[in-house]
Amino acid sequence: MAFFADKDYTQDQAVLDAINAVMQGNLTLHWIDANTEKVRGRASDPRRGLTYEDLDLGSYGFSSIPEFVRDEQSMVARGSEKWGRLPDMGYVVNRKSDVWSDNVTTLYEEAKTRRWAPAVDVPWAELEINPLASDLQAACAQLYTFLQECALVALDFPARWVPLINQEFIEQKSFMCSQMLDGARLLEVFRKRALYTGAGLGRASVTAEQGLKEWLWADTYPQGSLAINILLAGFMLAAYRQVAAVAPSRVDRAIMGYAMQDAARQVSYGTGALRYHLEHQPAQKAALSGYLDEAEHVMLALVGSPELLEPLIIISGGGLEGAQVKSGRESVVKFIRLVVREYLERVSAAGLDRRGNSRLPAIVDRVSL
């Protein structure tokens, strides 16, 4: 084990004496006059309930978190009194502007209220009542196999970082926890959809997975957030909108309707976090731009992956007939342009103008019918 308690408490006389004293009614009451701020939080709008924003009060508030959290490495709840020997948890993200976004509390509250359950909120029976043509079924199975690979990475990313982020940023960490549940739910619904119509799963994508691993394994949280919360989530949001728009069934439309809500929260956080980061650390603009010079090629690995491109053409056109494929190609070209345009808009709005540096627009301009 990497960590042992400092003593065998069952054999420590001082500990046993302390327990005995308390259990004989001799209380120390050392906690009763804790040196903390006395507050009484109230819901500002009873319809909305008691939100984290309602509790942004004094020393407890997220507004009072300093930019550099220097003297807190334990699990102590922000605002409570510290005493005694507290453990060092080894957090590596201790700077507020590395993780914070002004909309993070809103997004966390939103994530909880906009919950859904794939088992019961998707009209699965529709697929039996109105079965799809076999080509469309196969294309859907492949597309949903691909989306599972993306969703798994979107799930693993917050899990990789949440234990490394300082406990002081509790609202932000809570939002990341909600992202994990979102990721698990998407994995679930995509798997169920892929298997339900009988086509089985398709083929994993080498190019997409290679790229996704590069994004997932980014060195720093700001880099990773940019890659996963903006690039990947932006791509996925556009893909969900695309599939919803051409939905081969009510089931696909329902799935994509819910998925786009989850992905939109993710990009909103990602954009907000990037903006906050650059506002407080303007020197990072060049560094992150440099990171994107290297990392943007992964977008190509996703949109160019045959395991995405081909089923998306078939689904967008409605089948494999010549005219359908033509229509599908036209739609997918627009989709690819949309993905890149919206990505550039998002980073630009956050303070990182990539329009002169990104290689994506030029390569997308080469996409033609």
Binding site: A2, T36, G49, L50, Q142, G202, V298, E310
Partner: protein, 382 residues
């Protein structure tokens, strides 16, 4: 960067040309249509329950098809998909089924998804308007809430630490762990919110318990983490929630404890099923787990010496600071602590580790025996 894709796709001319060609000509390769994967036809067993994981538990996609040692999938590919050469290694640490598996994991997950509640809107916070608890009880409640919010966040960090380390073939376990992480974030939130609505704010940290919790996060293996977190720590906390619900000074507090209790019971359920599974399928681990339980129980015992928790519980249970209140509180708290230990050993026994209930095997058992005798002498029943 931590990992670089084997190709820079901007520079991969063959890849780019093929992509552009496909779009330009519509000549689709369609090789993915010939993926060597199984065709299955799931059926919704119970329409009221919807399409659940169990309905798709078929053939090569099913949980029974997962081998004890997952050798073939180390990528991000979903279980049962065709995995071509060249996918990356996702670097999972846990690829052995018995290291993490539990009967009914999918059921616990689906239950978690449908039973998500919201600390913001599902608690009748407005009913606290005008509620003034007596000072001692109010401070004791705040201290209890301070402790609970403090420990719940580590209950998010610990499972989250393991989530990306689990082989992607174990989808159901990953999903369950993700749901647990969200449950614990909600617990952190609801206890923090309650502390900050008492009028007393948060109180004092609990160093002894923090040291104990670090032990959970730093376990050597998933199984050891699960034993310490799901079985020992959450088992103890489940008993604590039950007693806290009983002692709750307002119906708002009762509602909070009822809701957190159902989440915690699910986590303990998974922990028990996993412990049972590992003992049955990975017998070599039994002694290792005994060693880990020695530590976990030591730490669990240390919790009793965290006076800021024990004392606040006594004050809350007794209803005040007068002598008679304290005496009443001590009796209830003694019953609570013995109940915690009793249920801990009962769980271990049910999972297939009855030998733990012995003074030769467990120091905590020895303390439990002593405590029982003292309680009997004092006429305390639990």
């Amino acid at each position: 960067m931590g990992y670089l894709a084997t190709t820079n796709f901007f520079e991969d001319r063959e890849f780019v040309d093929k992509w552009l060609y496909t779009i330009r000509t519509g000549e689709l390769d369609l090789s993915w249509m010939k993926a060597g994967t199984e065709k299955v036809r799931p059926h919704v067993e119970n329409p009221r329950r919807g399409l659940i994981y169990r309905d798709i538990n078929l053939g090569s996609y099913g949980v029974e098809a997962i081998p004890e040692k997952v050798r073939l999938n180390r990528s991000f590919a979903p279980r049962g998909a065709e995995i071509p050469e060249g996918v990356p290694d996702a670097q999972p640490w846990v690829s052995r089924k018995s290291e993490l598996w539990a009967h009914n994991t999918d059921g616990y997950y689906e239950e978690a998804v449908t039973r998500q509640w919201n600390a913001t809107t599902d608690i009748p916070w407005d009913r606290l308007e005008g509620v003034e608890l007596p000072e001692a009880a109010g401070k004791a409640l705040s201290q209890l809430m301070t402790f609970l919010t403090e420990v719940e966040m580590i209950a998010t960090d610990t499972p989250a630490t393991w989530l990306p380390r689990l082989n992607p073939d174990f989808i159901e376990v990953k999903a369950f762990i993700a749901a647990q992480v969200m449950d614990e974030a909600r617990h952190t939130e609801v206890f923090r919110k309650r502390a900050l609505t008492t009028g007393f704010g948060l109180m004092k940290a609990s160093p002894m318990n923090e040291m104990a919790l670090k032990h959970l996060r730093d376990a050597d293996s998933f199984s050891e983490m699960s034993v310490a977190l799901h079985l020992v720590a959450e088992g103890n906390v489940l008993t604590l929630f039950r007693f806290s619900e009983y002692l709750s000074p307002t119906d708002v507090d009762k509602k909070i404890f009822r809701l957190v209790m159902q989440d915690e019971a699910r986590h303990v359920g998974y922990g028990m099923q996993h412990f049972k599974w590992v003992l049955e399928h990975f017998p070599q681990k039994r002694e290792i787990l005994h060693g880990h339980l020695d530590e976990a129980e030591n730490i669990s015992f240390a919790g009793g010496a965290a006076t800021e928790l024990t004392e606040s519980f006594i004050v809350l249970a007794g209803g005040g600071l007068k002598r008679e209140n304290i005496e009443k509180g001590v009796r209830i708290t003694t019953a609570f602590q013995l109940k915690q230990m009793q249920e801990h050993f009962e769980r271990l026994e049910k999972c297939g580790m009855p030998e733990r209930s012995s003074v030769d095997r467990s120091k905590l058992w020895a303390m439990f025996e002593m405590g029982k005798a003292a309680a009997a002498e004092a006429g305390i029943r639990f």
